[in-house]
Symmetry: C2
Subunit: 209 residues, 2 copies
């Protein structure tokens, strides 16, 4: 069954807490966005995160160096899943992968701005989730998640755990569910910037199950 | 004149504050390390940073996406210089470069884990500082800053503003000063883990001036 991960970003700590309480148990995974980590720090976020009882928690740490330090901090602060950049050195990815497997947690490798050669090299980390990531800063705004997944799956048929993010709406979510390739979809603004985020999250959950 | 940048990492907020007060005016640049940003967040750090009156301040933000958001936050929180990963998309680097030049601030492009082709592409950002970065996670522990700088300068003679980090001791600092290539050296543990960091910082300042 495909999961729904909802990314929370660029809000106050109070808004973050309110969102977390409302979304807990409604969505599969609550993502603590990179903006929250860099603005408030994991030390401030962990007490709010501890209120999440039913949904899984992902911290979008975007680790690129100091892998062991960051991953230990992240899991201690309450994350079930942490992210590492595919563009990190292989040494960093090996470190965080070993730590993650050892702690029976999960990691997502963010494929932002890497080429196919690097992805080939990362295939060995077969328990990781591979995140097809549409850059927020990309000028080319016509990213199509369904097509991107299809193409990625054709290029790397052996990569099993795939996540996709980038402007996914209800219609695309439904198509991605029918496509049966990705393990999870990641939705941010389309839910969090809606007037009634919880209702919108429920609609996404309906179309993907 | 070559500058000394001292990186503060993996300490409590209280230890960070004490270090900042002691090092202000002693070293050229105080670096707020990535670990402090991800552990405590820029919102918590900015009141401590506001106590720095004489040294310059660099936040090692390691931006890799959401460039404009992160750079606006970083400069507002008191940084004179922010870092962006060379492995970011060109769109991200263009965004933060424009914002930095517009605000008359500085940026450092962290060359961690990129190839020469990407560095060629980044040469256009000629007001940026290019950071030769030795990964903390690298298994190969025999990095030689002096040789790395010489080699980089031979490969990219047109890149003017170079910073170097990675296990630099007093002897290497002295050699880097005589080499007259880099704009600044970045020293972390060799100063901060010393029993008397201020005395050690002064020794570094002496040998490089």
């Amino acid at each position: 069954m495909m999961k729904l991960q909802v990314a929370i970003d660029r809000v106050t700590l109070e808004e973050f807490q309110n969102s977390v309480i409302k979304l807990d148990g409604i969505v599969d995974v609550i993502e603590v966005g990179t903006s929250l980590i860099k603005d408030y720090g994991m030390d401030s976020l962990k007490s709010i995160v501890s209120r999440i009882k039913q949904s899984e928690v992902l911290f979008d740490l975007k680790t690129i160096d100091e892998g062991t330090y960051e991953f230990e901090k992240g899991f201690t602060a309450g994350a079930d899943t942490l992210t590492v950049m595919a563009s990190s050195s292989i040494d960093t990815i090996e470190q965080v992968y070993a730590l993650t497997v050892n702690q029976e947690k999960k990691m997502l490798i963010d494929l932002l701005a890497v080429n196919d050669e690097k992805i080939e090299e990362l295939r060995q980390f077969d328990k990781a989730i591979f995140g097809l990531h549409y850059s927020h800063d990309n000028k080319n705004q016509d990213f199509d998640a369904v097509k991107a997944v299809e193409q990625f799956h054709n290029n790397f048929p052996n990569i099993k755990n795939i996540a996709v993010a980038g402007g996914i709406d209800i219609e695309q979510a439904s198509r991605l569910a029918k496509q049966r390739i990705v393990e999870r979809i990641i939705v941010g603004g389309k839910i969090m910037n809606n007037e009634t985020p919880v209702e919108m999250a429920k609609k996404f959950m309906e179309v993907i199950k």
